[in-house]
Protein backbone atom coordinates (compact mmCIF):
# COMPACT_ATOMS: atom_id res chain seq x y z
CA UNK A 1 0.00 0.00 0.00
CA UNK A 2 1.43 3.34 -1.11
CA UNK A 3 1.67 6.13 1.43
CA UNK A 4 0.35 9.46 0.11
CA UNK A 5 1.19 11.55 3.17
CA UNK A 6 4.20 13.06 1.41
CA UNK A 7 2.12 14.09 -1.59
CA UNK A 8 -0.56 15.42 0.69
CA UNK A 9 2.00 17.60 2.44
CA UNK A 10 3.36 18.83 -0.92
CA UNK A 11 -0.15 19.57 -2.08
CA UNK A 12 -0.77 21.63 1.00
CA UNK A 13 2.47 23.52 0.41
CA UNK A 14 1.43 24.30 -3.20
CA UNK A 15 -1.82 25.79 -1.96
CA UNK A 16 -0.29 27.66 0.97
CA UNK A 17 2.54 29.07 -1.18
CA UNK A 18 0.04 30.21 -3.82
CA UNK A 19 1.90 28.28 -6.49
CA UNK A 20 1.66 30.23 -9.78
CA UNK A 21 0.71 27.21 -11.87
CA UNK A 22 -2.00 26.30 -9.43
CA UNK A 23 -3.24 29.90 -9.27
CA UNK A 24 -3.37 30.11 -13.06
CA UNK A 25 -5.53 27.01 -13.25
CA UNK A 26 -7.81 28.10 -10.40
CA UNK A 27 -8.11 31.58 -11.92
CA UNK A 28 -9.14 30.25 -15.31
CA UNK A 29 -11.65 27.88 -13.69
CA UNK A 30 -13.28 30.71 -11.80
CA UNK A 31 -13.33 33.00 -14.83
CA UNK A 32 -14.82 30.39 -17.16
CA UNK A 33 -17.50 29.25 -14.71
CA UNK A 34 -18.41 32.79 -13.65
CA UNK A 35 -18.83 33.85 -17.28
CA UNK A 36 -20.93 30.75 -17.92
CA UNK A 37 -23.17 31.56 -14.95
CA UNK A 38 -23.56 35.20 -16.02
CA UNK A 39 -24.66 34.04 -19.48
CA UNK A 40 -26.93 31.40 -17.96
CA UNK A 41 -28.48 34.08 -15.73
CA UNK A 42 -29.08 36.44 -18.64
CA UNK A 43 -30.84 33.71 -20.60
CA UNK A 44 -32.24 31.49 -17.86
CA UNK A 45 -33.86 34.10 -15.59
CA UNK A 46 -36.02 35.73 -18.28
CA UNK A 47 -36.71 32.38 -19.95
CA UNK A 48 -37.83 30.78 -16.68
CA UNK A 49 -39.89 33.83 -15.75
CA UNK A 50 -41.50 33.88 -19.18
CA UNK A 51 -42.47 30.21 -18.91
CA UNK A 52 -43.90 30.91 -15.45
CA UNK A 53 -46.05 33.83 -16.56
CA UNK A 54 -46.97 33.15 -20.19
CA UNK A 55 -49.78 30.85 -21.26
CA UNK A 56 -49.43 29.30 -24.70
CA UNK A 57 -50.08 25.93 -26.29
CA UNK A 58 -47.16 23.60 -25.73
CA UNK A 59 -46.12 25.34 -22.52
CA UNK A 60 -46.47 22.13 -20.51
CA UNK A 61 -44.18 20.30 -22.93
CA UNK A 62 -41.67 23.15 -22.79
CA UNK A 63 -41.60 22.92 -19.00
CA UNK A 64 -41.05 19.15 -19.09
CA UNK A 65 -38.29 19.58 -21.67
CA UNK A 66 -36.62 22.26 -19.59
CA UNK A 67 -36.77 20.15 -16.44
CA UNK A 68 -35.20 17.19 -18.20
CA UNK A 69 -32.44 19.39 -19.67
CA UNK A 70 -31.36 20.02 -16.06
CA UNK A 71 -29.79 16.59 -16.04
CA UNK A 72 -27.92 16.86 -19.35
CA UNK A 73 -24.78 14.68 -19.30
CA UNK A 74 -21.80 17.05 -19.59
CA UNK A 75 -19.97 14.85 -22.11
CA UNK A 76 -22.96 14.98 -24.44
CA UNK A 77 -23.03 18.78 -24.18
CA UNK A 78 -19.27 18.78 -24.81
CA UNK A 79 -19.71 16.62 -27.88
CA UNK A 80 -22.51 18.83 -29.23
CA UNK A 81 -20.49 22.01 -28.72
CA UNK A 82 -17.47 20.28 -30.30
CA UNK A 83 -19.51 19.42 -33.39
CA UNK A 84 -20.79 23.00 -33.63
CA UNK A 85 -17.39 24.62 -33.22
CA UNK A 86 -15.17 22.22 -35.14
CA UNK A 87 -13.93 23.41 -38.52
CA UNK A 88 -16.59 21.39 -40.30
CA UNK A 89 -19.31 22.60 -37.95
CA UNK A 90 -21.75 25.48 -38.52
CA UNK A 91 -19.88 27.77 -36.10
CA UNK A 92 -16.41 26.62 -37.20
CA UNK A 93 -15.57 30.05 -38.64
CA UNK A 94 -15.54 31.48 -35.12
CA UNK A 95 -12.37 29.44 -34.42
CA UNK A 96 -13.46 28.98 -30.81
CA UNK A 97 -12.61 25.32 -30.35
CA UNK A 98 -9.90 24.74 -27.71
CA UNK A 99 -10.31 28.25 -26.28
CA UNK A 100 -11.83 29.36 -22.97
CA UNK A 101 -14.68 30.74 -25.07
CA UNK A 102 -15.68 27.23 -26.08
CA UNK A 103 -15.58 26.14 -22.46
CA UNK A 104 -17.78 29.05 -21.43
CA UNK A 105 -20.31 28.10 -24.10
CA UNK A 106 -20.36 24.47 -22.99
CA UNK A 107 -20.79 25.33 -19.31
CA UNK A 108 -23.42 27.98 -20.09
CA UNK A 109 -25.39 25.30 -21.94
CA UNK A 110 -25.18 23.06 -18.91
CA UNK A 111 -26.15 25.74 -16.40
CA UNK A 112 -28.87 27.61 -18.31
CA UNK A 113 -31.50 24.84 -17.95
CA UNK A 114 -30.80 24.64 -14.22
CA UNK A 115 -31.27 28.37 -13.77
CA UNK A 116 -34.30 28.50 -16.06
CA UNK A 117 -36.05 25.51 -14.51
CA UNK A 118 -35.54 26.67 -10.92
CA UNK A 119 -36.61 30.20 -11.90
CA UNK A 120 -39.74 28.85 -13.58
CA UNK A 121 -40.75 26.89 -10.51
CA UNK A 122 -40.08 29.72 -8.04
CA UNK A 123 -41.69 32.45 -10.11
CA UNK A 124 -44.73 30.33 -10.95
CA UNK A 125 -45.43 29.63 -7.27
CA UNK A 126 -45.09 33.29 -6.45
CA UNK A 127 -47.22 34.35 -9.39
CA UNK A 128 -50.15 32.37 -7.99
CA UNK A 129 -49.83 34.34 -4.80
CA UNK A 130 -49.34 37.80 -6.36
CA UNK A 131 -51.46 37.67 -9.54
CA UNK A 132 -54.64 39.28 -8.22
CA UNK A 133 -52.83 41.97 -6.27
CA UNK A 134 -50.71 42.88 -9.29
CA UNK A 135 -53.87 42.96 -11.38
CA UNK A 136 -55.30 45.62 -9.04
CA UNK A 137 -52.26 47.71 -9.99
CA UNK A 138 -52.87 47.21 -13.71
CA UNK A 139 -49.47 45.55 -14.00
CA UNK A 140 -48.53 44.45 -17.50
CA UNK A 141 -46.55 41.28 -18.24
CA UNK A 142 -43.12 42.94 -18.12
CA UNK A 143 -43.70 44.77 -14.85
CA UNK A 144 -45.14 41.54 -13.47
CA UNK A 145 -42.02 39.57 -14.39
CA UNK A 146 -39.82 42.31 -12.93
CA UNK A 147 -41.75 42.28 -9.66
CA UNK A 148 -41.63 38.49 -9.42
CA UNK A 149 -37.90 38.32 -10.20
CA UNK A 150 -37.14 40.90 -7.50
CA UNK A 151 -39.29 39.14 -4.93
CA UNK A 152 -37.83 35.74 -5.76
CA UNK A 153 -34.30 37.15 -5.44
CA UNK A 154 -33.15 34.82 -2.68
CA UNK A 155 -34.30 31.66 -4.43
CA UNK A 156 -32.85 32.89 -7.70
CA UNK A 157 -29.45 33.57 -6.13
CA UNK A 158 -29.61 30.05 -4.78
CA UNK A 159 -30.27 28.76 -8.29
CA UNK A 160 -27.32 30.72 -9.68
CA UNK A 161 -25.01 29.37 -6.98
CA UNK A 162 -26.18 25.83 -7.67
CA UNK A 163 -25.42 26.43 -11.34
CA UNK A 164 -21.97 27.75 -10.50
CA UNK A 165 -21.29 24.69 -8.38
CA UNK A 166 -22.24 22.42 -11.25
CA UNK A 167 -20.13 24.38 -13.75
CA UNK A 168 -16.93 24.52 -11.75
CA UNK A 169 -17.01 20.84 -10.79
CA UNK A 170 -17.78 19.63 -14.30
CA UNK A 171 -15.06 17.92 -16.36
CA UNK A 172 -16.64 16.08 -19.30
CA UNK A 173 -17.67 19.06 -21.39
CA UNK A 174 -14.66 21.32 -20.87
CA UNK A 175 -12.13 18.61 -21.62
CA UNK A 176 -13.76 17.90 -24.99
CA UNK A 177 -14.12 21.53 -26.14
CA UNK A 178 -11.12 22.99 -24.27
CA UNK A 179 -8.62 20.25 -24.92
CA UNK A 180 -6.82 20.81 -21.61
CA UNK A 181 -4.03 22.87 -23.21
CA UNK A 182 -1.36 24.12 -20.82
CA UNK A 183 -1.66 27.86 -20.05
CA UNK A 184 -4.71 28.11 -22.32
CA UNK A 185 -7.61 25.88 -21.36
CA UNK A 186 -6.51 24.05 -18.26
CA UNK A 187 -9.06 24.28 -15.47
CA UNK A 188 -9.12 22.60 -12.07
CA UNK A 189 -11.04 19.48 -13.03
CA UNK A 190 -9.18 18.74 -16.24
CA UNK A 191 -5.82 19.41 -14.59
CA UNK A 192 -6.66 17.05 -11.74
CA UNK A 193 -7.46 14.32 -14.27
CA UNK A 194 -4.26 14.95 -16.21
CA UNK A 195 -1.86 15.30 -13.27
CA UNK A 196 -3.28 12.20 -11.60
CA UNK A 197 -2.63 10.16 -14.73
CA UNK A 198 0.90 11.59 -14.90
CA UNK A 199 1.49 10.65 -11.26
CA UNK A 200 1.85 14.29 -10.15
CA UNK A 201 -0.40 13.75 -7.19
CA UNK A 202 0.66 16.86 -5.29
CA UNK A 203 -0.77 19.22 -7.92
CA UNK A 204 -3.87 17.04 -8.34
CA UNK A 205 -4.52 16.96 -4.62
CA UNK A 206 -3.82 20.69 -4.21
CA UNK A 207 -6.39 21.52 -6.85
CA UNK A 208 -8.77 19.02 -5.28
CA UNK A 209 -8.48 20.88 -1.97
CA UNK A 210 -9.26 24.18 -3.66
CA UNK A 211 -12.24 22.65 -5.46
CA UNK A 212 -13.60 21.27 -2.21
CA UNK A 213 -13.02 24.60 -0.48
CA UNK A 214 -15.04 26.29 -3.22
CA UNK A 215 -17.84 23.75 -2.86
CA UNK A 216 -17.90 24.26 0.91
CA UNK A 217 -17.95 28.06 0.48
CA UNK A 218 -20.83 27.84 -1.97
CA UNK A 219 -22.82 25.80 0.50
CA UNK A 220 -21.97 28.17 3.33
CA UNK A 221 -23.21 31.11 1.26
CA UNK A 222 -26.33 29.13 0.30
CA UNK A 223 -27.11 28.43 3.93
CA UNK A 224 -26.64 32.01 5.04
CA UNK A 225 -28.77 33.23 2.12
CA UNK A 226 -31.48 30.82 3.13
CA UNK A 227 -31.43 31.88 6.76
CA UNK A 228 -31.39 35.56 5.79
CA UNK A 229 -34.41 34.95 3.60
CA UNK A 230 -36.21 33.07 6.34
CA UNK A 231 -35.42 35.69 8.98
CA UNK A 232 -36.96 38.41 6.84
CA UNK A 233 -39.83 36.17 5.72
CA UNK A 234 -38.62 36.80 2.17
CA UNK A 235 -38.10 33.13 1.30
Amino acid sequence: MQDFSGEFFDAFKLVAALDPTLLEVVGLSLRVSLCAVVIAAMVGLPLGAFLAVARFPGRGAAVILLNSLMGLPPVVVGLAVYLMLSNAGPLGVLQLLYTPGAMIIAQALLVTPIVAALTRQTVEDMRGEYAEYLATLGTGPFAMVATLLVDARYSLLTALLAGFGRAIAEVGAVIIVGGNINHVTRVMTTTIALETSKGNLAMAMGLGMVLIAIAVSINAVLMSLRSAATNAAYG
Binding site: E129, Y130, E132, Y133, L134, A135, T136, L137, G138, T139, G140, A143, T147, V150, D151, A232, A233, Y234, G235
Partner: protein, 284 residues
Protein backbone atom coordinates in the same frame (compact mmCIF):
# COMPACT_ATOMS: atom_id res chain seq x y z
CA UNK B 1 -57.66 60.81 -23.28
CA UNK B 2 -59.84 59.21 -20.66
CA UNK B 3 -57.63 56.17 -20.70
CA UNK B 4 -54.65 58.05 -19.41
CA UNK B 5 -53.93 57.48 -15.73
CA UNK B 6 -54.25 60.60 -13.66
CA UNK B 7 -50.95 62.40 -13.30
CA UNK B 8 -49.51 62.09 -9.82
CA UNK B 9 -49.55 65.83 -9.05
CA UNK B 10 -53.24 66.12 -9.73
CA UNK B 11 -55.28 65.79 -6.53
CA UNK B 12 -56.86 62.41 -7.05
CA UNK B 13 -59.45 62.58 -4.33
CA UNK B 14 -61.73 64.93 -6.17
CA UNK B 15 -64.88 65.80 -4.29
CA UNK B 16 -67.40 63.12 -5.03
CA UNK B 17 -70.33 64.18 -7.15
CA UNK B 18 -73.68 64.31 -5.41
CA UNK B 19 -75.62 61.11 -5.86
CA UNK B 20 -77.48 61.32 -9.12
CA UNK B 21 -79.61 58.49 -10.47
CA UNK B 22 -77.49 56.90 -13.17
CA UNK B 23 -80.38 56.61 -15.61
CA UNK B 24 -80.77 60.37 -15.84
CA UNK B 25 -77.12 61.08 -16.58
CA UNK B 26 -75.54 59.39 -19.58
CA UNK B 27 -72.06 58.09 -18.89
CA UNK B 28 -70.41 60.55 -21.26
CA UNK B 29 -71.83 63.46 -19.30
CA UNK B 30 -69.42 62.75 -16.45
CA UNK B 31 -66.13 62.76 -18.30
CA UNK B 32 -64.16 63.92 -15.29
CA UNK B 33 -64.64 60.81 -13.20
CA UNK B 34 -62.34 57.89 -13.94
CA UNK B 35 -64.54 55.22 -12.38
CA UNK B 36 -67.95 56.39 -11.20
CA UNK B 37 -70.60 55.47 -11.87
CA UNK B 38 -69.32 51.95 -11.42
CA UNK B 39 -72.01 49.72 -12.77
CA UNK B 40 -72.89 46.06 -13.21
CA UNK B 41 -75.62 44.83 -15.55
CA UNK B 42 -76.97 41.28 -15.61
CA UNK B 43 -73.85 39.98 -13.90
CA UNK B 44 -73.55 36.18 -13.79
CA UNK B 45 -70.70 34.03 -12.55
CA UNK B 46 -71.33 30.31 -12.61
CA UNK B 47 -69.19 27.32 -11.72
CA UNK B 48 -70.11 23.65 -11.72
CA UNK B 49 -73.68 24.45 -12.72
CA UNK B 50 -74.19 26.86 -9.81
CA UNK B 51 -74.79 30.55 -10.30
CA UNK B 52 -72.50 31.96 -7.65
CA UNK B 53 -73.40 35.43 -8.87
CA UNK B 54 -76.94 35.29 -10.13
CA UNK B 55 -77.98 38.12 -12.45
CA UNK B 56 -76.90 41.14 -10.40
CA UNK B 57 -77.61 44.74 -11.37
CA UNK B 58 -75.76 47.27 -9.28
CA UNK B 59 -74.58 50.84 -9.60
CA UNK B 60 -72.14 52.60 -7.34
CA UNK B 61 -71.95 56.39 -7.34
CA UNK B 62 -72.21 59.30 -4.97
CA UNK B 63 -70.15 59.32 -1.81
CA UNK B 64 -69.70 57.39 1.40
CA UNK B 65 -69.47 53.77 2.44
CA UNK B 66 -71.62 51.02 1.04
CA UNK B 67 -71.49 47.96 3.25
CA UNK B 68 -72.08 44.58 1.69
CA UNK B 69 -73.42 42.05 4.17
CA UNK B 70 -74.55 38.47 3.97
CA UNK B 71 -73.64 35.01 5.15
CA UNK B 72 -70.48 33.16 4.21
CA UNK B 73 -70.68 31.98 0.64
CA UNK B 74 -73.31 34.53 -0.34
CA UNK B 75 -71.00 35.79 -3.09
CA UNK B 76 -69.78 39.03 -1.51
CA UNK B 77 -66.09 38.55 -2.32
CA UNK B 78 -66.90 37.35 -5.79
CA UNK B 79 -69.07 40.40 -6.49
CA UNK B 80 -66.30 42.69 -5.27
CA UNK B 81 -63.73 41.02 -7.52
CA UNK B 82 -66.07 41.18 -10.49
CA UNK B 83 -66.71 44.88 -9.90
CA UNK B 84 -62.94 45.47 -9.61
CA UNK B 85 -62.41 43.78 -12.95
CA UNK B 86 -60.28 41.04 -11.38
CA UNK B 87 -62.61 38.28 -12.55
CA UNK B 88 -64.41 37.96 -15.88
CA UNK B 89 -68.16 37.39 -15.60
CA UNK B 90 -69.81 34.58 -17.54
CA UNK B 91 -72.59 36.96 -18.55
CA UNK B 92 -73.32 40.62 -18.08
CA UNK B 93 -71.01 43.60 -17.94
CA UNK B 94 -69.09 45.74 -15.50
CA UNK B 95 -68.43 49.33 -16.50
CA UNK B 96 -66.42 52.11 -14.92
CA UNK B 97 -68.00 55.36 -16.01
CA UNK B 98 -69.44 53.75 -19.09
CA UNK B 99 -66.47 51.67 -20.23
CA UNK B 100 -65.15 48.24 -19.32
CA UNK B 101 -62.41 48.23 -16.65
CA UNK B 102 -58.99 48.63 -18.20
CA UNK B 103 -55.42 48.46 -17.03
CA UNK B 104 -54.84 52.18 -17.38
CA UNK B 105 -57.51 52.93 -14.75
CA UNK B 106 -56.80 49.91 -12.55
CA UNK B 107 -55.07 51.96 -9.86
CA UNK B 108 -58.12 54.24 -9.60
CA UNK B 109 -59.89 51.32 -7.94
CA UNK B 110 -58.11 50.19 -4.79
CA UNK B 111 -58.58 46.72 -3.38
CA UNK B 112 -57.72 45.27 0.01
CA UNK B 113 -58.02 41.52 0.23
CA UNK B 114 -59.23 39.66 3.28
CA UNK B 115 -55.82 38.04 3.51
CA UNK B 116 -53.37 40.81 2.62
CA UNK B 117 -51.02 40.11 -0.27
CA UNK B 118 -47.72 41.66 0.76
CA UNK B 119 -44.58 41.67 -1.35
CA UNK B 120 -41.35 40.23 0.01
CA UNK B 121 -40.08 43.71 0.72
CA UNK B 122 -40.12 46.22 3.53
CA UNK B 123 -43.31 48.06 4.45
CA UNK B 124 -41.96 51.10 2.63
CA UNK B 125 -40.89 48.96 -0.32
CA UNK B 126 -44.44 47.67 -0.68
CA UNK B 127 -45.89 51.16 -0.93
CA UNK B 128 -43.11 52.39 -3.23
CA UNK B 129 -43.73 49.45 -5.57
CA UNK B 130 -47.45 50.24 -5.79
CA UNK B 131 -46.71 53.90 -6.51
CA UNK B 132 -44.29 52.88 -9.24
CA UNK B 133 -46.94 50.67 -10.83
CA UNK B 134 -49.34 53.63 -10.68
CA UNK B 135 -46.87 55.71 -12.69
CA UNK B 136 -45.78 58.03 -9.87
CA UNK B 137 -42.44 59.66 -10.63
CA UNK B 138 -39.44 58.15 -8.88
CA UNK B 139 -38.62 61.38 -7.04
CA UNK B 140 -42.06 61.46 -5.41
CA UNK B 141 -42.47 57.81 -4.51
CA UNK B 142 -40.51 57.74 -1.25
CA UNK B 143 -42.16 60.90 0.04
CA UNK B 144 -45.67 59.73 -0.76
CA UNK B 145 -44.95 56.28 0.65
CA UNK B 146 -43.72 57.78 3.91
CA UNK B 147 -46.83 59.97 4.08
CA UNK B 148 -49.05 56.94 3.59
CA UNK B 149 -47.25 54.98 6.31
CA UNK B 150 -47.44 57.99 8.61
CA UNK B 151 -51.21 58.22 8.20
CA UNK B 152 -51.53 54.52 9.04
CA UNK B 153 -49.20 55.03 12.02
CA UNK B 154 -46.75 52.61 10.48
CA UNK B 155 -43.90 55.09 10.09
CA UNK B 156 -41.72 53.39 12.73
CA UNK B 157 -42.07 50.12 10.81
CA UNK B 158 -41.11 51.53 7.40
CA UNK B 159 -37.98 49.41 7.14
CA UNK B 160 -39.43 46.22 8.59
CA UNK B 161 -40.01 43.28 6.23
CA UNK B 162 -43.75 43.44 5.58
CA UNK B 163 -44.27 39.75 6.17
CA UNK B 164 -42.77 39.94 9.65
CA UNK B 165 -45.38 42.41 10.82
CA UNK B 166 -48.35 41.38 12.96
CA UNK B 167 -51.67 40.54 11.33
CA UNK B 168 -53.14 43.92 12.21
CA UNK B 169 -50.09 45.79 10.97
CA UNK B 170 -50.10 43.82 7.72
CA UNK B 171 -53.71 44.71 7.04
CA UNK B 172 -53.08 48.36 7.89
CA UNK B 173 -50.13 48.30 5.50
CA UNK B 174 -52.29 46.81 2.75
CA UNK B 175 -54.81 49.61 3.33
CA UNK B 176 -52.13 52.31 3.52
CA UNK B 177 -50.63 50.99 0.30
CA UNK B 178 -54.02 51.14 -1.43
CA UNK B 179 -54.73 54.64 -0.10
CA UNK B 180 -51.30 55.90 -1.19
CA UNK B 181 -52.57 55.64 -4.77
CA UNK B 182 -55.49 57.95 -3.88
CA UNK B 183 -58.07 55.64 -5.42
CA UNK B 184 -61.44 56.94 -6.58
CA UNK B 185 -63.11 53.78 -5.33
CA UNK B 186 -61.78 51.53 -2.59
CA UNK B 187 -62.97 47.96 -2.16
CA UNK B 188 -62.34 46.29 1.18
CA UNK B 189 -63.06 42.60 1.55
CA UNK B 190 -63.57 41.86 5.25
CA UNK B 191 -60.42 43.82 6.09
CA UNK B 192 -60.94 43.49 9.83
CA UNK B 193 -61.83 39.83 10.04
CA UNK B 194 -59.81 38.17 12.82
CA UNK B 195 -58.04 41.38 13.89
CA UNK B 196 -57.69 42.70 17.44
CA UNK B 197 -59.96 45.62 18.46
CA UNK B 198 -57.18 48.22 18.21
CA UNK B 199 -56.35 47.20 14.66
CA UNK B 200 -60.04 47.22 13.78
CA UNK B 201 -60.36 50.77 15.11
CA UNK B 202 -57.29 51.82 13.11
CA UNK B 203 -58.65 50.36 9.90
CA UNK B 204 -62.09 51.93 10.41
CA UNK B 205 -60.51 55.33 11.12
CA UNK B 206 -58.45 55.10 7.92
CA UNK B 207 -61.51 54.16 5.89
CA UNK B 208 -63.54 57.06 7.29
CA UNK B 209 -60.65 59.44 6.62
CA UNK B 210 -60.51 58.25 3.02
CA UNK B 211 -64.26 58.83 2.64
CA UNK B 212 -63.87 62.38 3.94
CA UNK B 213 -61.17 62.89 1.31
CA UNK B 214 -63.69 61.82 -1.34
CA UNK B 215 -62.99 58.14 -1.89
CA UNK B 216 -66.05 55.98 -2.52
CA UNK B 217 -65.89 52.81 -0.45
CA UNK B 218 -67.38 49.35 -0.91
CA UNK B 219 -66.87 47.42 2.30
CA UNK B 220 -67.65 43.75 2.75
CA UNK B 221 -68.24 42.85 6.35
CA UNK B 222 -70.38 40.72 8.57
CA UNK B 223 -70.01 42.44 11.92
CA UNK B 224 -73.26 44.25 12.70
CA UNK B 225 -71.72 46.66 15.20
CA UNK B 226 -69.09 47.62 12.67
CA UNK B 227 -71.71 48.01 9.97
CA UNK B 228 -73.62 50.45 12.19
CA UNK B 229 -70.44 52.46 12.75
CA UNK B 230 -69.43 52.70 9.10
CA UNK B 231 -72.28 52.20 6.70
CA UNK B 232 -74.09 54.92 4.79
CA UNK B 233 -76.07 52.24 3.04
CA UNK B 234 -76.24 48.46 3.22
CA UNK B 235 -76.38 45.93 0.43
CA UNK B 236 -77.61 42.57 1.64
CA UNK B 237 -76.61 39.56 -0.43
CA UNK B 238 -77.92 36.03 -0.39
CA UNK B 239 -77.19 33.13 -2.73
CA UNK B 240 -75.48 35.26 -5.33
CA UNK B 241 -78.22 37.87 -5.39
CA UNK B 242 -78.75 41.28 -3.92
CA UNK B 243 -81.72 40.82 -1.61
CA UNK B 244 -81.93 44.47 -0.71
CA UNK B 245 -80.14 47.78 -0.79
CA UNK B 246 -81.21 50.20 1.92
CA UNK B 247 -79.87 53.34 3.60
CA UNK B 248 -78.13 52.37 6.82
CA UNK B 249 -80.57 54.45 8.85
CA UNK B 250 -83.43 52.14 7.94
CA UNK B 251 -81.64 48.84 7.31
CA UNK B 252 -80.80 47.91 10.87
CA UNK B 253 -84.17 48.71 12.41
CA UNK B 254 -86.40 48.14 9.46
CA UNK B 255 -84.90 45.84 6.82
CA UNK B 256 -86.95 45.58 3.67
CA UNK B 257 -86.40 41.88 2.91
CA UNK B 258 -87.36 38.92 5.08
CA UNK B 259 -83.90 37.45 4.38
CA UNK B 260 -82.13 40.46 5.86
CA UNK B 261 -84.57 40.50 8.77
CA UNK B 262 -83.66 36.92 9.55
CA UNK B 263 -79.97 37.73 9.17
CA UNK B 264 -80.29 40.62 11.61
CA UNK B 265 -82.15 38.37 14.01
CA UNK B 266 -79.15 36.04 13.95
CA UNK B 267 -80.84 33.33 11.93
CA UNK B 268 -78.59 31.02 10.03
CA UNK B 269 -79.49 31.34 6.37
CA UNK B 270 -78.09 28.48 4.42
CA UNK B 271 -77.01 29.00 0.89
CA UNK B 272 -79.23 26.08 -0.12
CA UNK B 273 -82.16 27.98 1.29
CA UNK B 274 -83.46 28.56 -2.18
CA UNK B 275 -87.09 28.12 -1.28
CA UNK B 276 -87.04 31.37 0.64
CA UNK B 277 -85.23 33.06 -2.21
CA UNK B 278 -87.95 32.00 -4.62
CA UNK B 279 -90.68 33.16 -2.25
CA UNK B 280 -89.04 36.51 -2.10
CA UNK B 281 -88.84 36.77 -5.86
CA UNK B 282 -92.55 36.07 -6.25
CA UNK B 283 -93.65 38.60 -3.63
CA UNK B 284 -92.88 42.04 -5.03
Amino acid sequence: MLDRPRSPQEPANVVAPRPVPAERVPAHALPSDPVLPLSARGLVFARAGRRLIDDIDFTLEGAGITLIMGHNGAGKSLLLRLLAGLVEPDAGTVTWNGRAPDRARATRVGFVFQKPVLLRRSALGNVVHALKCAGVKRAERKLRAHEALQRARLAPLAGVPARLMSGGEQQRLALARALALRPRVLMLDEPTASLDPTSVAHIEALALEAVRAGTRILFVGHDLAQARRLADEVVFMHSGRIAERTPAATFFDNPQSPLAARFLAGDLLLDEDRKLKREEETTP
